[in-house]
Amino acid sequence: MSTPGGDLDFTTLTLTDVTRSFGRRRALNRVSLHARAGETIALLGPNGAGKSTLLSIIATLLAPTSGEVRYGPHEGLRAGAALRARLGLLGHDLYIYPELSPAENLRFFAKVYGVEDVERCIADALDHAGLSHRRDDPVSGFSRGMRQRLALERALLHAPRLALLDEPFTGLDDAATHALRQRLATLRNSGCIVLITTHDLETIEGIVDRAMVLRNGVAVELPVGAGSLRQRYRASLTPLSSSR
C-alpha cells in the first residue's frame, strides 16, 4: 500500500509526561505509556477520566499542553500526513456519512488514504463488517450496531500501524462482538499497536496484553495478578472510592 506523504513506519508508541489542560481543568496529568508493535492495551477508567482526550492526542487531533508523544523516532505533530496515514481512529462518534452507502463511505476513505486496489479492499471490509448484502443502501437506515461495524472497518481500511478504538463494542450483538474479538487478534498478529477504551471488561478479557487505568487524568498500570480484569479494575479504583 502506498503511504500518502511518504513511507513512514514505526514499531513503538511512547508517551512521556503528557499533560493536557482545558482552561483551569487538567484532563490529563503527566501520562506516560510505552507500547510495542503487536501489543493490545486497554485504557480503562470512569466517565470523564480523560480516555478520549488521550486518544485524541495520540491521534494528533489535540496537542498536549506539555509532554511528548513519539511514534518510533517521529514526533507527532511534526510528522504530519505521512504519520497520519499510519493511524486508524474509531471515535465515539462514528465518522461516517449517513447519506452515503457503506461502499461509498469506504471508497471515499480508501481514496483519501491512497489505498491500492480500492474495490477489493471495499469488498473485504464489507465482508468483515457483514454488510456485503447492504453495500449500496444508505447508512442512515442502519442500526447502531451495523454503523459501528462499518465505522470499525473504515478505521482499519488502510491497515494502520496504530489503531485507536474508542468503545468499539458499543451496540454490537454477540456475533459481532465475537467477530470483533477475532479481528483484534488478527490485528495483533499483523503487528498493529491497538489501544482500546471500553467499559465492557468481560469482552476484552483475554485479548488485551495489559491495561492502564485513568483516574482524574492520572494513568496507572493495572497490576497483573489473580482475578478477572473487572475485579482488578475495581480493586484499583477502591482507594479513590474509599477516600471520598
Binding site: L61, A63, R84, G91, Y95, I96, V112, G114
Partner: protein, 226 residues
Amino acid sequence: MTFVRTIWLITRKDLLIEARSKEILFTTLFFAVSSVLVFAFGFVREGRAVEDAAAGILWIAIAFSGTLALGRAFERERQSETLRALMIAPIPRPALYLGKLLGIVLLLAAVEAIIVPLVSLMFQAPLFTHAWLTLGLLAAGTIGFAAVGTLFAAMLVRARSRDVLLPVLLYPITIPVIIAGVRGTSALLQAEVDLPMARLWLSMLVFFDVVFVTLALWTFEPVMTE
C-alpha cells in the same frame, strides 16, 4: 495522491451527499428566491423598479443564502464528527479547505443560476447584456465571500452558538466583497453602462479573492488542529 485530486475528492463527496439529500440546495434556493420576491414587492412600483436596486438585492440574496449554505455544509460534517476523520486523514489540510470551498462555490453557482435571471426579470435589469463581465463579478464575488465563510464555518463548527456567530463574524469581513460586487454590477446596470468602472471593481474582487484565499490557506491548519 495529488493536491488537486484531493480537492476534487472532497468536493465530489460533498456534491454526492448534496445530490442525495438536496437539503442545502433547496433551502438556500428557497431562501434566495423568497428574498428576491419580497424585495420585488417592495421596490417595483407599477412595473418600474427603483433605480440601482437590482444589484444590491442580487448581492444581498447571494450573501444571505450563502451564509445559510455555509452553516449547513459544516453542520453536516459535525453531526457524525466526520470533520475529525478528515483531519486525521493523510491529506494536506489546505486541500481539505479548498475542497470544501469549491463545493460551496459550486452550490452557490447553482443558486445564482436561478436568481440572476429572476432578478433580471423582476427588476428589468439587463444582467445579460455584458454577460461575461456579470459572470466574472459573480464568480469573483462568490469565491471571496465563500473563502472567508468556509474558514469561519470550519472554525465555528464546535462552537455552541455557531449559527449566531457565523454571520456576526462573516459580514464585517466580507463587506468589501459585497460592496465591490454591488458597485461592479451597478456599473453594468445603469442607463449608461460604465465598463471601465465594472472592470475596476472586478479587479478589486480578484484582489480580495487572492488575499482572502491566501490568508485562509495559511490559517486553516493552525485553527483546526486544536
